[in-house]
């Protein structure tokens, strides 16, 4: 982990409910330092871009060979030669640069990106990540750039709901889904709480509409506070 935590003690936001997807994206955006080089994973993480101020100086990387990626393309801006990692047409900002795939992943693997934001099926308290494969016997495996992103960025932020649809926690003592990376996640942003994770276990930074006590009851991991 490279980015320091601003909070000095754990805060329970009890005067509100869980974060909406949009609020969650805003929370992640809040914690990305000005001028960072950032990769936003496919799906929900792309929403973070909408909350990065124009004056943040944050530069977006897309694995398919670009720094300086702009917002999604609209109408006549759509150019089939210019897409993001999710193959969605995007725009180019002034000062952008294009490069080929080996150079793009060298940039990731070499630790040059400051932050990568990914979705997840499960994260362990130690920072292991599972986000590429449900492990279902008939599932077709498809990894894309997930493993490269997981081990590459200086900070890997995960963005997810804290509980699966069946109510089971997705922040777990040990991932039961196939791993994407070992000990790679530094923060887990969820609708119910923000956690630091890693070799020292999980630390709660903030909760949203849930007390530490409730969190402690519903998770199977030891929780530390700031």
């Amino acid at each position: 982990m490279s980015i320091a935590v601003a909070a000095t003690q754990t805060i329970e936001h009890l005067d509100r409910g869980p974060l909406s997807k949009d609020e969650l994206a805003a929370l992640v955006a809040r914690d990305i330092p000005q001028g960072s080089y950032v990769n936003l994973g496919i799906g929900q993480p792309t929403m973070v871009a909408d909350h990065l101020g124009a004056d943040s100086g944050i530069v977006l990387h897309t694995e398919n060979g670009m720094l300086g990626m702009g917002r999604a393309a609209r109408d006549e801006e759509v150019d089939p030669d210019l897409t993001n990692a999710g193959k969605i047409p995007v725009t180019e900002l002034p000062g952008a640069a294009y490069f080929h795939h080996a150079d793009s992943f060298a940039m990731m693997r070499g630790g040059h990106l400051d932050v990568c934001v990914l979705g997840a099926f499960q994260v362990s308290a130690a920072g292991d990540l599972a986000n590429w494969h449900t492990g279902a016997p008939d599932a077709i495996p498809a990894v894309g750039g997930a493993m490269d992103l997981a081990i590459g960025a200086k900070d890997v932020f995960v963005m997810m709901t804290l509980f699966a649809k069946d109510g089971s926690p997705k922040l777990v003592p040990r991932c039961t889904y196939p791993l994407t990376g070992v000990d790679c996640v530094s923060r887990v942003y969820t609708d119910r709480a923000l956690f630091l994770v890693g070799t020292e276990g999980a630390t709660v930074v903030e909760t949203f509409g849930m007390s530490m006590e409730e969190l402690d009851e519903r998770l199977d991991i030891e929780l530390h506070t700031l």
């Binding site: 897409t83 193959k87 060298a106 490269d148 791993l179």
Partner: protein, 230 residues
């Protein structure tokens, strides 16, 4: 000897691709996908192919059509499963297609190694995951790595924006993706380009793929004019 030839038909571009070849196919989704060359390869008839590409075909055209025609024995890719990858999905589920899933960066780096004469390399990606199972591992300076080997192509089919008579290529925006790496990793590289320009008309500082890596060039704009004329 090895100078690039500008060919005049898709058939000429893919001539000689043998059954059993390993073919690297550029593109990330449709960006940079050499659609005309893939169609020509289907027409040409080579079978028992190993295809190395980021994806494994969409809908019913391009790579999906090549798969549907039963020409492919094995796919090496990072992301076969997509919302419209039903051709691949069906063949894979019925056991008619071998699949090697490779993390996207390893796919690129393994081809880069092939082109760069590197015998193998220790890579941190995938350590501790199912994709590293059975692979040699080593701890270097306290970090764990997996040993990865080069992926060489007999042929590379790539798409680019512009070629000059030397075979120098430039690409356009994120359609660059795998093209420059694959061009270095194949014995014979075949590029479809949107236009060709005269010698000296590509800025030497801006060349992305030097002509040394390009064997055959199919100019799609010339092809379109031919079709209009005929």
């Amino acid at each position: 000897m090895s100078r690039a030839h500008i060919v005049t038909s898709p058939a000429e571009a893919v001539a000689g691709i043998e059954d059993g070849s390993t073919v690297l196919v550029g593109g990330f989704g449709m960006a940079g996908m050499p659609v005309t060359l893939i169609d020509a390869l289907i027409e040409q008839g080579a079978s028992d192919l190993t295809i190395v590409s980021n994806n494994a075909g969409n809908g019913d055209t391009g790579l999906a059509a090549l798969l549907a025609a039963g020409r492919v024995r094995k796919v090496i890719c990072s992301f076969p499963r997509q919302h419209d990858s039903y051709v691949f999905d069906g063949l894979y589920r019925s056991g008619k297609l071998e699949l090697e899933v490779v993390p996207q960066g390893n796919l690129a780096e393994r081809m880069r190694a092939a082109g760069a004469g590197i015998g193998a390399f220790y890579c941190p990606t995938g350590v501790g995951t199912p994709l590293a199972e059975g692979k040699e591992q080593r701890t270097i300076d306290g970090r764990d790595y997996v040993l990865e080997y080069p992926i060489r192509g007999d042929y590379a089919l790539i798409g680019a924006q512009t070629a000059d008579p030397m075979g120098n290529l430039v690409y356009r925006k994120t359609a660059r993706n795998f093209g420059p790496v694959m061009a270095t990793a194949a014995r014979t590289t075949i590029a479809e380009v949107r236009e060709t320009v005269g010698l000296g008309e590509i800025d030497p500082e801006a060349v992305v793929t030097p002509g040394i890596y390009v064997d055959r060039i199919l100019d799609l704009s010339a092809l379109a004019s031919q079709e209009v004329a005929s």
